[in-house]
């Protein structure tokens, strides 16, 4: 397995703003994301949750004409520093997308994709990484006899867990999840949530979700974001312990949102 210096995967965001062209979409977010816990980003559509999430592995860089201001530290290291290679960063910070996006290849090759890119070649080692990752994503028992099968033959929920396994195979410290269950049925959603609960022992998880019950069920901390008018950027309203946020929020707008008065 890949040896790495043990870091924790804690983020520190200081006054982070994101602009698309000249328009600022997210403004002045300051928050901490603790290691080995699940942090949920909630808020109505268009409140910049996904945009903020994409800052954490610099996927915004790939969209063109997106500028990120402020400071984002991963275990004390500035991830937007000139010396930080986004490719290296993305090995440490994995991502699972909204729609399952397995590559058009076998189950095995999907999981081995990341490690192979990063130089792992031995068959025994790859086998071990693939098995370990599929186990962590709670998919191993269903596919262990069919690793050569094409990934497209799996169900939607299985494909999403395959994508989780694929992201885990590079042994990231952080896993970003952008509404990972929104395209899935309730049973698959349940399985994904169980997987997340087990994974937080070993990785930091940041999850964007539309589903407030989901945030309440799985997260330790919840951040509520809101764009109050179209001519102002979205901001972080508050962040806190999930239980507190859902029982006794500090801000009226949070309370209004979680009790379902808007959004």
């Amino acid at each position: 397995m890949v040896e790495r210096t043990q870091t924790d995967g804690a983020f520190e965001l200081v006054d982070v703003s994101v602009s698309y062209g000249n328009e600022m979409a997210v403004g002045g977010v300051t928050m901490s994301i603790p290691e080995h816990a699940v942090t949920a980003l909630i808020g109505p559509s268009g409140c910049g949750k996904s945009t903020l999430l994409r800052c954490l592995n610099r996927m915004n860089d790939e969209l063109g004409d997106v500028t990120v201001d402020g400071t984002i530290l991963l275990d004390g290291q500035d991830i937007y520093a000139r010396t930080m290679d986004p490719v290296e960063l993305r090995i440490r910070v994995g991502q699972v997308f909204q729609k399952p996006n397995p590559f058009p290849m076998s189950i095995y090759d999907n999981v081995a994709y990341g490690p192979r890119t990063h130089g792992l070649r031995g068959k025994a080692e790859l086998d071990a990484v693939v098995e370990e990752s599929l186990k962590r994503a709670a998919l191993w028992n269903e596919v262990k006899d069919a690793l050569k099968k094409h990934a497209f033959e799996l169900s939607g929920g299985q494909q999403q867990r395959l994508c989780i396994a694929r992201a885990l195979a590079t042994e990231p410290e952080v896993l970003l999840m952008d509404e990972p269950a929104s395209a899935l049925d309730p049973i698959s959603t349940q399985q994904i949530e169980d997987t997340i609960a087990e994974l937080k022992e070993s990785v930091t998880i940041v999850i964007v979700t539309h589903n407030m019950q989901q945030a309440a069920r799985i997260s330790d901390r919840t951040a509520f974001m809101l764009r109050e008018s179209m001519d102002r950027p979205a901001t972080l309203i508050e962040i806190g312990e999930t239980r507190m946020m859902f029982t006794n929020p500090g801000d009226k707008r949070t309370e209004a949102y979680i009790t379902g008065r808007f959004g």
Partner: protein, 281 residues
Amino acid sequence: MIAASGWLAIVILAAIAIFLFFNATRSFEEVGLWKMVSGEFWYPTSDPAQYGFLPSEAGSLWVTIVGLVVCVPLGVMSAIYISEFASRRFKDIAKSLIEFMAAIPSVVFGLIGLALLVPWTQKLFNLDTGLTAFSAGVMIGILTLPTIVSIAEDAMHAVPQDLRMGSLALGNTRWQTAYKVIVPAASSGIFAAVMLGLGRAIGETMVVLMLAGNSGLIPSQPFVSARTLPGTIAGELGEVIQGGQHYSVLFAMGLVLFVVTFLVNLAADSVLERQRRRWRR
């Protein structure tokens, strides 16, 4: 109405085959199909005339091979660049230029070839003449480039953005993403592009007529003058007696060309269909 137009294509195709066949019957009776297809000598005006297609077949083969060697790697690489790396501005400009290039008549490419490529070939390889299968092949490769680039680019562009993002998010560079995910995912489209390019290269007439030198000998390598099937037909049809033996032989040659291109397309189609079935699962 729509069904009728669908059938129309099949009827026209069949009509072409029948038309070629009937005009070629005289040559089948008087010369014989196998004797033409495998004949080594093309002396249509000597007495007795010899109508061997091998010089033209071998010439077509060389010109097509050279053409593909030029246009496939170049075309696929430009398509990768335009689809995966270029800025939007460059992409827009490049795509419209490529479409414009596809619209240039092949006789213009022939002129450019005569003025530049032929003398260069002669000097570079120290030949007696620059009018060779090689020069014609290179020019045909350039001529075919827009077909390959635009179809291959479309195929790569059609690969879902999700896959691209998924690969980048796993810490792959854009280049790794292109060759490990995008090209394999678009392989059927790229294959179709190459096959269409091949079809275009086999059938291309004007450029070979101008650049290949039209020798009657069987070329054993590309650096000699050669003739091709379409080049021979176009070059000689104007000089033969309508309905005569030579005339009929040229129709038999057309029939051979028709069958070859038909088989190329059929092969391409069956591979594409198999790919498509695999994707659907």
